[in-house]
């Protein structure tokens, strides 16, 4: 019963989002088809294309046709890349997922110890340093810090590659995630190479979530310190380590989960810029180009992916919540 409710709600959101974007990309001034076909195109060919893409029909018909197309596995022709959007998604989505996954893992893995240490040693040097670095982290414009890091680590120091996903041939495609595929096929060169390519973009992408999650964990841990059940453990002489990392952290992290779920869409947005700066061949870069070029099928495709991902992430976060906090599980 509970699941049905949630599924219904999620479908509602998906439909709402698709309608919103659908309308948005069609009310643009100018003629994207003419631009796509180039200055040499004749009026005839432009009109022909318009008819082919269904742009001469009323908008609600267009929408229904589009939904029908999805069911058939056709997401429409992309004006920027001249092929079906589904193909583009299949090709570019893994790259973006890999990037976001690595960034998020980095952010959370670093934020937990930093947050805990800051809370346990409030107002110490480490705490202040953390706070300042966190503030810096959320204030950098991602495109600018990306460029600066390219200059510093790529060009000045020559340590890291600054564009692309890999140099040389990619590993054999099993999951399309270079890191996993290269490990599975024991292709260590490809692993190391793709890892190096991920470092800079992932670092830029994780700055903002890292700062937010650290601050949140710190605040939650401090909140835990005044809890009665912690006092009971302290009075029993339990080890400080157990109290901090088992008793307090569990509660602190659970409260941080909703924010972490909320941060992933934010990361996706930043990815649009980061992939552009680092010429990372992911779906976000395609999305940015598509929006600017009024590639409506491309934009719809990307929107679909984003909203489905949003729904999935929300679902996962809710489930994780129930696992970590038995009160939620029992309420159901």
């Amino acid at each position: 019963m509970y699941f049905l409710e949630r599924i219904f709600y999620m479908v509602l959101v998906l439909v709402g989002v698709s309608i919103l974007m659908f309308v948005l990309v069609r009310i643009i001034p100018g003629d994207p088809i003419a631009t796509a076909l180039g200055p040499m195109a004749t009026q005839d060919s432009i009109q022909k294309m318009r008819r082919e893409m269904g742009l001469d029909r009323p908008i609600h018909v267009q929408y229904l046709l589009y939904i029908k197309g999805i069911a058939e596995g056709k997401l429409g022709l992309s004006l920027t890349e001249k092929r079906d959007v589904l193909e583009i998604i299949q090709e570019k989505l893994p790259a973006t997922i890999e990037l976001i996954f690595v960034s998020m893992t980095l952010a959370v893995l670093l934020a937990i110890p930093l947050g805990v240490i800051s809370a346990l040693h409030q107002n110490s040097l480490i705490d202040h340093l953390n706070r300042i670095t966190a503030l810096f982290g959320v204030s950098f414009p991602s495109f600018w810090i990306g460029i600066m890091m390219q200059l510093l680590f790529g060009l000045a120091l020559g340590l890291l590659p600054i564009t692309g996903r890999i140099s040389g041939s990619p590993p054999e495609a099993i999951t399309h995630f270079y890191l996993i595929d290269s490990l599975l096929t024991l292709n260590f060169r490809a692993f190391w190479n793709s890892f190096l390519h991920l470092i800079l973009p992932a670092s830029v992408l994780c700055l903002s979530p890292l700062a937010n999650v650290t601050r949140l964990i710190r605040a939650n841990m401090i909140d835990q310190m005044s809890k009665d059940y912690i006092n009971v453990s302290k009075a029993a002489g339990m080890s400080g380590w157990i109290i901090s990392y088992k008793y307090m952290l569990r509660n602190a992290f659970t409260s941080a989960l909703t924010m972490i779920g909320f941060l992933i869409p934010l990361m996706v947005g930043t990815a649009f810029v980061v992939e552009k700066v680092f010429a990372f061949p992911g779906l976000a870069r395609f999305g940015a180009d598509a929006i600017i070029a009024n590639d409506f099928n491309g934009v719809m495709g990307v929107t679909l992916v984003i909203s489905v991902a949003f729904v999935i992430v929300n679902f996962l976060v809710d489930e994780l919540y129930a696992v970590l906090d038995p009160r939620i599980k029992l309420k159901r």
């Binding site: 006092n231 009075a235 029993a236 002489g237 659970t254 038995p326």
Partner: protein, 334 residues
């Protein structure tokens, strides 16, 4: 009553730093608990009784609290001067029963997890490596669970083994408090510190819990420090009681004797505030609890005292030992 002293608090002075200034809360608390007796601390909310208990338990947050002076001696060691490891070892000998059973059990862990953690920690002699190893060992875990079930049985919880798998939210208030009592008994402590443990419970459960406490104290031969604002409870369960007002002890003695014939004007006022069945108009005590920021000079009770003298507003009274185990801190008796 044996003469072994379990707890001795001498001249404890504690201040609190806040945004508004320094609160001079504890003004010189003197307290003794002998082996085998239950000592009560009675007083209004805000008189400092919980702070005293917290210092004994080692759970007072030291900034913002500042311990200006005094000794807190437990089993012949001054807790204020011991290092962390020794302190942790001593904590094993004190059991704590907190006030609010709902807030005192970590909601995301099962009762079993909480109890086994404590049991194995005590068993490993507060050694982290040893604890971690024991925690992973099935046989150790089973032994700990058996012991936990035994303790739960001791506090009259039915079907103790099944309770181990439950979460605090699944238990009633009374059961949670019993679980806390069981946890306090882990490792056979010498002293039980109870901070108004029945306040958050229904009246009917209060009674049964009090009986349970008395029973365990006798069975396990524990000493007890019982904090309450309820004179009736103190009379029922405490051999001797200290009355605190505004950060210091004003009177102490054998409970029934002291409450039948109170010496200090404040104690008299407390006793008279209890509505009596004879239907007389009951009296409160005029005035309000003093401001710790700027406490009244001399005896802190003097502004509210109907028998104050000139010296009361100048100097803090010295303690007068009326007889063995009976003293009062008031100029009237000096």
């Amino acid at each position: 009553m044996k003469e072994n002293i379990i707890v001795k608090i001498e001249d404890l002075v504690v201040h609190f730093k806040t945004i508004d200034g320094v609160l001079k809360v504890l003004q010189g608390v003197n307290l003794v608990v002998h082996e085998g007796e239950v000592v009560g601390i009675v007083g209004e909310t805000g008189c400092g009784k919980t702070i005293t208990a917290k210092i004994l338990l080692g759970i007072l947050h030291i900034p913002p609290a500042i311990i200006k002076n005094g000794k807190v001696i437990f089993l012949s060691q001054d807790l204020l001067k011991t290092n962390q490891t020794d302190r942790e070892a001593l904590k094993q000998k004190i059991g704590y029963i907190p006030q609010d059973p709902t807030a005192s059990l970590n909601p995301v862990f099962s009762i079993g997890t909480l109890m086994v953690d404590m049991i194995l920690w005590k068993r490993s002699g507060q050694h982290l490596g040893d604890y971690l190893w024991k925690r992973r060992e099935t046989s150790q875990k089973k032994m700990a669970e058996t012991y936990a079930a035994e303790l739960l049985d001791k506090v009259h919880i039915a079907a103790p083994k099944s309770i181990l798998n439950k979460y605090p939210v699944e238990l009633s208030g009374g059961m949670r408090q019993r679980v806390l009592l069981a946890m306090a008994l882990i490792g056979s402590p010498s002293l039980l510190v109870a901070d108004e443990p029945t306040t958050a419970l229904d009246v009917t459960i209060q009674k049964s819990l009090l009986h349970l406490l008395q029973e365990k104290v006798k069975e396990e031969r524990l000493s007890g420090l019982y904090i309450t604002h309820n004179l009736g409870v103190a009379r029922a369960i405490c051999h001797r009681t200290y009355v605190m007002y505004a950060g210091s002890v004003v009177e102490n003695g054998v409970t029934s004797e002291m409450l039948d014939q109170p010496l200090h004007p404040y104690t008299k006022g407390l006793v008279n505030s209890i509505p009596k069945l004879t239907g007389e108009q009951f009296q409160g005590i005029d005035g309000q609890v003093p401001d710790y920021l700027n406490p009244p000079p001399g005896c802190r009770f003097h502004p509210r005292c109907d028998r104050r003298m000139e010296i009361c507003s100048r100097e803090f009274p010295e303690m007068t030992q009326v007889k063995e185990n009976r003293s009062v801190v008031c100029w009237l008796y000096h």
